[in-house]
């Protein structure tokens, strides 16, 4: 059951997306303007505004990390999902599905920590952890999505003389797309969160001010980072929800 089916109608969701995006952009560009407010709220904190790096840079670095890792996860994940649902790779399907299910019980923070001994500190281990963890929901949903294509539909396609590639491209992928995108959505949202923790292994992200604030006991830093990363996740989630809706063909997502 997708959450989209249970929440508000599309029109009000679109308003939410626009409003949150506007707020996110305004805060990324104009957080410094709020300095007087933070000073007033936390008079004994000096400085009350994170200044080691601009919030724009932090956000872009965060986005770069998430985008790059998601790009790799999605290409590898969809390819793997396709492989194990074709005759040649079907033997690997149970193992890959189980692996994806067990892998997702691993805490993201623990996966991040385990990559450090292998890949060191900084951008690379965070990227590796994000790719590894982000793969799992994509693989799982690709397999599940392709599995939901009715066998009668496939038979009809074959009966009409479509080639294997035509069936894949024109029938299977479009019909599986909503479920695959739902997997990408989960993967990206988790990665936005894990990238935040990535600042503990030395990656520069929106988590950097949060960690700096926690270590240095500076609450304004923590709030500034947390609000931005929270908004970023919400905007991304709302955008994916719209994308999912576009690919539902008379299913729950459309009806709700």
């Amino acid at each position: 059951m997708s959450i989209g089916a249970l929440t508000h109608p599309p029109s009000s969701r679109r308003f939410l997306l626009i409003a949150h995006s506007a707020l996110l952009i305004a805060l990324v560009l104009g957080m410094e303007q709020l300095a007087p407010m933070f000073r007033a709220l936390f008079p004994d904190q000096d400085p009350a505004m994170y200044q080691r790096e601009s919030f724009l840079n932090l956000t872009l670095a965060h986005l770069a990390l998430v985008l790059l890792s998601s790009l790799i996860s999605v290409s590898v994940g969809v390819a793997a999902g396709l492989f194990v649902t074709r005759p040649a790779g079907r033997e690997f399907e149970p193992l890959v599905s189980t692996l994806a299910a067990i892998g997702q019980t691993f805490p993201p923070a623990a996966v991040l920590a385990i990559v450090v001994p292998i890949a060191g500190f900084g951008f690379v281990p965070t990227l590796v952890a994000l790719v590894l963890y982000g793969l799992l929901p994509v693989v799982q949903n690709t397999v599940a999505g392709l599995g939901t294509v009715p066998s009668q539909t496939l038979e009809a396609a074959r009966g009409n003389g479509m080639s294997t590639w035509q069936i894949l491209w024109h029938i299977e992928l479009p019909l599986a797309m909503r479920v695959i995108i739902a997997g990408v959505r989960v993967s990206v949202i988790i990665n936005i969160g894990t990238a935040t923790i990535g600042s503990t292994v030395g990656a520069t992200t929106l988590g950097t001010p949060i960690i700096a604030g926690l270590v240095g006991n500076n609450l304004p830093y923590v709030i500034q980072g947390a609000i931005l990363v929270g908004l970023l996740a919400i905007v991304t989630d709302l955008a994916f929800e719209r994308l999912e809706r576009r690919f539902s063909f008379g299913e729950e997502g459309n009806a709700a």
Binding site: E91, F92, F106, A110, P117
Partner: protein, 405 residues
Amino acid sequence: MPVSAFRLPTSSTSDARLIANRVLITLLCAGWLSAWLLSFATLSPNRLAAGQAVMLRDAASEWQFAVMLVLTGLLTVAAFKRPLPRALAHAVVLLASLGLLLVTLYSLGDYAQRALADTSSAARISQGAAFWVIVFCCALAAIDTFQRTASGWLLRLGYMLIAGGSVAMLFASGHFHDLSIMREYANIRDDFADQLITHLVLVGAALGPALLIGIPLGLLAHRHMRLRGALFSVLNFFQTIPSIALFALLIAPLSALGNAFPLLGEWGIKGIGAAPAIIALVMYALLPVVRNTYAGLKGVPPATVEAARGMGMTARQVLWRVEIPLALPVMLSGLRIVTVQAIGLTVVAALIGAGGLGAFIFQGLGQYAIDLVLLGAIPTIVLAVIADFTLQMLVVLSKPAGTRR
């Protein structure tokens, strides 16, 4: 037409194939390749210095290497169509992969004992990449076999208990005493127990309120359609916010509350520590609990509920005797999601001073002490996997006998 019709061509070609189990062949190749190319262990002069790689052939003794050769040979034979019959081949894979796992673990510990006998006591021996790959491949071979044979959960449970038990016995015997990670463990033994308990207490403290609030909310969502949209929007909102951000955002209001009412502060309601951690964990846990309660109740056939009312059951009787028993499996899979999720999120809670196994991870990252990081990360993963497996069993058992198929 059943789906299997489309799979027929595959199985018929596999009849003509020489190799019966390509998954096993792949795993064997991966294992040997890693043993050939990657380090099995690393030997470093002290706790923090970089180490020097030791390959499997050099680390394992003659007899250990011979046993590994024999076991992988058996596995290779089992992967082929002939001469072993299928059932026997599956049994061989299960036993040989467990044997290989144990002998790999044993030879690592044994190597550490032999190597440290003639070097300085500050030297450290750690497990290398090849070690992890081999252990991983053994586990995958066993899992894949269980899926091929579609064996019941009783057999799986038995196998897991035997495997877990033998590994635990190796640890208990002190065989790994000279491994770097175990030395690290010896240093923090008491602290480790404390943090493990803290971790579990945090998870438990979050699950209780989550169930107490979430189940009634799920019931409400099922009964009142108007409420549903708003409720799920709000809960999805919580779930979307990255954990560390939610933990962090709770610090400010809670510290304000603690300062304004010193009594609350004395009770532990303050900016950092357990209070924000538990509140955030509850907020995360609500969505799966509410969603699965709702989905479970929604899955009860309307005709069954109507029959129950038509028989003269009161609303309460319908709920307790019909709806909840039928919804229980779905509700329990919600509990499973939430438990696994809470174990993972509690790691992050260490960043706001709540303690738990995450404390070792972040402490280790801060000191560049990899063993300490692993002492936090591996037990968390084991904890999550055990919780997942146990609750999965519970889901199976909770299915009313009449609906278990």
